[in-house]
Amino acid sequence: MDIENILKKYSKDKSYLLEIMHDAKESKENRSLDLNDLKVISKYLNINLSAAYGAATFYSAFSLKLQAKYIIRVCSSTVCHIKKSYDILLFLKSLLNCDDDNLSKDGLFAVSEVGCLGLCDISPSMMINNQVYGNLDENSIKRIVEELKNGSNGT
């Protein structure tokens, strides 16, 4: 769905800003927003571009930088930290040949370290887009990545 069609779902209520940005992000192959999206959204909601830009850069779910089809969020907070989430992060980055911007060499994955995902009962945990993965170890990570590369799971 393009941005114009997304806007049709919403009234011009300012409180829809984040909802619209969520939908816009989900609709993109690389899951990132660009300045043009923000211009269209801010015009529609009758807010300053700076306000939309402020929100898009404040919430770490949104990014104006180059992203990827699969955004991997590795939980790094207290419980996962105790369960060695840092090792998971390093393993993922090396498995995917990530560059300095944490993008995988094949451009399919963007890896980031995030605050608590509320998955402490299945720690160490991560999310790939909206899908949850827990009780991670090197083997399960390899398997998950392989499945995604083969296109068997896209959500």
Binding site: K14, S15, Y16, L17, L18, E19, H22, L45, I47, A51, G54, A55, F58, Y59, S60, A61, F62, R73, S76, S77, T78, V79, H81, I82, V114, G115, C116, L117, G118, L119, C120, D121, I122, S123, M127, N130, Q131, V132
Partner: protein, 405 residues
Amino acid sequence: MEATAHKSLKEPIIITTYQTQCLEDYIDNGGYETLKNVLTKYKPNEIIEQIKASELLGRGGAAFPTGIKWNFTAQIKADHKFVICNADEGEPGTFKDRWILEHKPHSLIEAISICAYSVGGDKGYIYIRGEYAESINRVRKALKEAYDNGFLGENILESGFSFNIELRRGDGSYVCGEETALIESIEGKRAFPRFKPPFPGIKGLWGYPTVINNVETLANIVPIIKNGADWFKNYGTKQSSGTKLYSVSGSVNKSGVIEANLGVTLKELLDAAQGMKNNKVFKCALIGGASGGFVYKNELDLPLSYETLKEAGKTLGSGAVLFLSEDDNGESLLKNILTFFKHESCGKCVPCREGYPKLIAMYEAFLENRIKAENIMKLADVMFKTSLCALGQSAKMPLETYFKS
């Protein structure tokens, strides 16, 4: 609490129900009957009196009396009033609200509607963190079911009362859990906390009186109205009535949400979690999430209620309990906590924004024996006294309780 359907709770119970209660099942178990009774048989102030009498304390972490909060808003005359369910559960180590959102979404809708009727609210919002994708799906589905069957919308259950609830998604911002930051976020802004007072109960969303309650707090409302305040006070301690959902995790055999009476001891929770993993020795527990405090071996029998922990200079907070064994590295955990707060600081107020980087540098110097703990505590104390919201105040407790070990 019947959020978990245990009607008489004697021992802590680890929750193993993983099926979402659909509308049909909810109604079969008496769901929305309380709302019907409330709308047809009670006056708004009678409901508020019952919640007050139950002495229910807010379960989000601040433990403010819910009935008093509702009363603030009910007293004010305004063109609009709002009710917000704070489902931005971001406190590290806490996952009990996720369980309620995913498994009992209708109990929240019913409670929010009852709250709205009691305070005169005309619109509600459920603000869920975007990371809780499954919660969002299930709440969205429940909202649709409620609308389709006349439990939300115009003239609910032919009572003349009309009320709407909308869902809003956050994502990737810890500070949104702070009530005024959450309100700013719903207004489509960066989540900067506001100065208080005025409190949201007086001046909240779009400047109108707004009740904002945590998910677990709301999950207690229907059982209280249904069974009465005295029933509720059978559970828990004198000053902390009811049961609590403890998020138990770490180096234990069975992590999970454990429902127990307020005042349960750490030892009892550890038993419910089937003991330490690999028979390791218990070292300490971090209670209340990243902004909570450490509790040690000599405090295993300390009742985990709001008043007892406060007396011990700690906090129950969100009810997160992270068990650490002798092999877990507390030193690096503390650094992890400080780094988390630094990352999540919204940048609005100086003590928090500038304090955390400095605090981390000082902590590193402390680990190298270059400065004393009391130097760090001086800064943490200044941040506690001068920060705009709880985020800047949060470092003090974990640091203080860690150094006292």
